[in-house]
């Protein structure tokens, strides 16, 4: 039951085989049983979930329920939820009860989805291993000694261990795709502007994008359908129309042109991961796709560029946490400056502080041109590389992550080594392009993700390409032992 797809569960609910209340209780029981060791959830919403399930059951009985009605999901704790703690993985927001819902949350509520709770994440989404969370690291259900990836690690581990059917996430530099890869699930980061950022706590506003972590591309299509679309409350929301994401899942891939960037298969890539990617590409050849080598000449600079752009925007966005209007306030401030400095110094963790400091430095007088302007120029070059590539190919494929999941603590002491875990995902954020990660052949029992990057607003095509692979393979159905 807990491994069924959204459409299977929806059919069962509508046929009256089980109720949403039963389904919700099943997943809450699983959370109770397994989350002690996994630490996927920061806050559970059991009472609200049961009420939402009851409401969904009523809608289903009346026959006016959509495909998500009664389906238990989880939200990354970066999305504001009215009346429920929204911590963003930080001490700063440990007692923050959001006074409104994020658009993503209100749209999924309106679709009848049942929110089980809020998932763990790297603090303010800054991390690639989920180890920077104030609430402790999340563990990978495939091996509890491994990280689940980050920053949407709680969502990824929860979906992989079947503690919820699907979960939301956000991706600023790989934070949906990388944990999806490391946990053996499907993770979709839509085009910048496709999903509203309203109520999604800002990290780097020109890069942040909400998306989904699911067990299959078909499930991702149903989730994205409910979330995508123009929102007047987000000033950078795209006015593009939203296609029917499930309608084209089965389209044939004959003649599809796939580009493999040679820079994504260099010496930094684990050879066994490379082999898994090659096997997946061979599968696509058999489905009728044409494969060619391409070049993204500036992709080697993506990490360097990102670590100027993202911290610069973060230093500006996180200035709102000042101990005055909401969030943590230090005890006994001597004066206003002490209030600001100690509230922020005590409320933020080490990685968030590092990024605020780097960003502040990059934007400070005398350094702006050398760092921030330079980074924006290289961002342009990286974006042009993709434009040129998409003149020749329909999609770009490569590894999501240079290695399989690493051990907890392995990279925690070395920020730059950690940053390089996102070497293949960051460029899509800089350009604003959509990307999806799907599970392919694992290496030594550890999941491997194939990344597919598409052109602007081509989510339907990415989902189609991912879905066709999942019809030919069963890596996405694999369940970690013990769950």
């Amino acid at each position: 039951m807990y491994s069924k797809s959204i459409s299977e569960l929806g059919a069962g609910l509508r046929a009256g085989e089980y109720s949403s209340i039963e389904l919700t209780r099943l997943f809450l029981d699983r959370i109770g049983r397994y989350d002690g060791e996994l630490n996927c959830f920061i806050t559970l919403a059991s009472a609200q979930a049961m009420a939402a399930a009851e409401n969904a059951d009523r809608l289903i009985r009346h026959g006016d329920a959509g495909p998500l009605a009664g389906i238990p999901i989880a939200h990354k704790d970066i999305f504001c939820t009215d009346g429920l703690r929204t911590s963003c993985g930080s001490k700063m927001l440990d007692s923050f009860i959001a006074p409104y819902d994020a658009t993503v949350v209100s749209r999924l509520n309106a679709a009848g989805a049942v929110m089980l709770g809020k998932t763990n994440m790297d603090e303010f989404a800054m991390g690639s291993s989920n180890e920077t969370s104030y609430y402790g690291a999340v563990r990978n259900p495939w091996d509890l000694n491994l990280v689940p990836g980050g920053s949407s690690g709680g969502s990824a581990a929860a979906v992989a261990a079947r503690l919820c059917v699907a979960a939301t996430g956000t991706d600023t530099g790989g934070s949906i795709r990388q944990p999806a890869a490391l946990c053996g699930i499907t993770g979709l980061k839509p085009t910048y502007g496709r999903v509203s950022r309203y109520g999604m706590i800002a990290f780097a506003s020109s890069l942040d994008q909400g998306g989904v972590l699911t067990r299959s591309a078909a499930d991702a299509a149903v989730m994205l359908q409910a979330m995508a679309g123009f929102d007047p409350r987000d000033s950078t929301s795209a006015r593009e129309s939203v296609p029917d994401y499930s309608a084209h899942l089965d389209a044939a891939l004959a003649g599809l042109k796939i580009g493999l960037p040679k820079e994504y298969f260099d010496q930094g890539l684990d050879p066994e991961v490379a082999r898994s990617i090659e096997l997946a590409v061979t599968e696509y050849r058999q489905l009728g796709a044409e494969v060619m080598e391409i070049s993204l000449p500036n992709s080697g600079l993506a990490v360097a560029t990102y670590y100027v752009v993202a911290p610069a925007e973060c230093s500006s966005n996180l200035s709102r946490f000042d101990g005055v209007r909401f969030g943590y306030r230090c005890d006994q401030p001597r004066d206003l400056e002490d209030l600001y400095k100690r509230s922020r110094g005590e409320g933020f963790g080490a990685e968030v502080k590092r990024r605020i400091l780097i960003g502040t430095y990059a934007l400070s007088a005398g350094y702006y041109d050398a760092y921030y302007l330079k980074a924006q120029q290289i961002r342009q070059l990286i974006s042009e590389d993709f434009k040129k590539a998409f003149e020749k190919v329909d999609v770009i494929m490569g590894p999501t992550s240079p290695s399989t999941a690493f051990a907890l603590g392995e990279k925690a002491g070395d920020p730059v080594t950690m940053y390089l875990s996102d070497i293949y995902t960051i460029a899509a954020n800089l350009a604003g392009l959509p990307g999806i990660s799907i599970p392919v052949r694992p290496v030594a029992g550890r999941p491997v993700g194939l990344q597919i990057i598409g052109n602007y607003f081509q989510e339907a095509q990415l989902l189609n390409i991912a879905h066709r692979f999942q019809q030919e393979s069963d890596w996405h159905l694999a369940l970690p032992t013990g769950y």
């Binding site: 923050f96 006074p99 910048y192 502007g193 020109s206 890069l207 007047p232 000033s235 950078t236 795209a238 600079l301 990490v303 360097a304 560029t305 670590y307 100027v308 230093s315 200035s319 000042d322 101990g323 005055v324 909401f326 969030g327 943590y328 306030r329 401030p333 001597r334 004066d335 206003l336 002490d338 209030l339 600001y340 400095k341 100690r342 922020r344 110094g345 933020f348 502080k353 590092r354 605020i356 400091l357 780097i358 502040t360 430095y361 990059a362 400070s364 980074a375 924006q376 120029q377 290289i378 961002r379 342009q380 070059l381 920020p415 730059v416 800089l430 350009a431 604003g432 392009l433 602007y456």
Partner: protein
């Protein structure tokens, strides 16, 4: 670029962020390592390249100048650390 303790103190002041004295050297070392990574950008000549601030070439949307939100001050102030008579309280600024 290698940062010293005094650089970190200066940046931390600009960011209004308290950094413990005992952590200053470690933070300076971490930030210097990150800046070394960032300075890989210098290998590319970017003369004449138009900086890209945003992934979508969009201009800022305007809306009619009409009231679209209701007054929720009381609700928003319930989550504030300290308020009084609808005002946010901070330590005395003017003597």
């Amino acid at each position: 670029m290698s940062l010293q303790r005094s650089d970190v103190e200066n940046i931390a002041h600009l960011a209004r962020l308290a950094v413990n004295d005992v952590e200053l050297d470690a933070v300076a070392a971490d930030l210097s390592t990150i800046l070394q990574l960032v300075e890989q950008m210098n290998v590319v000549d970017t003369t004449g390249v138009v900086p890209m601030a945003h992934p979508l070439q969009m201009s800022q949307r305007l809306r009619p100048d009409e009231v679209s939100e209701t007054d929720q001050r009381d609700r928003f102030q319930t989550i504030a650390p300290a308020t009084e008579k609808g005002l946010y309280l901070v330590p005395k600024v003017i003597e």
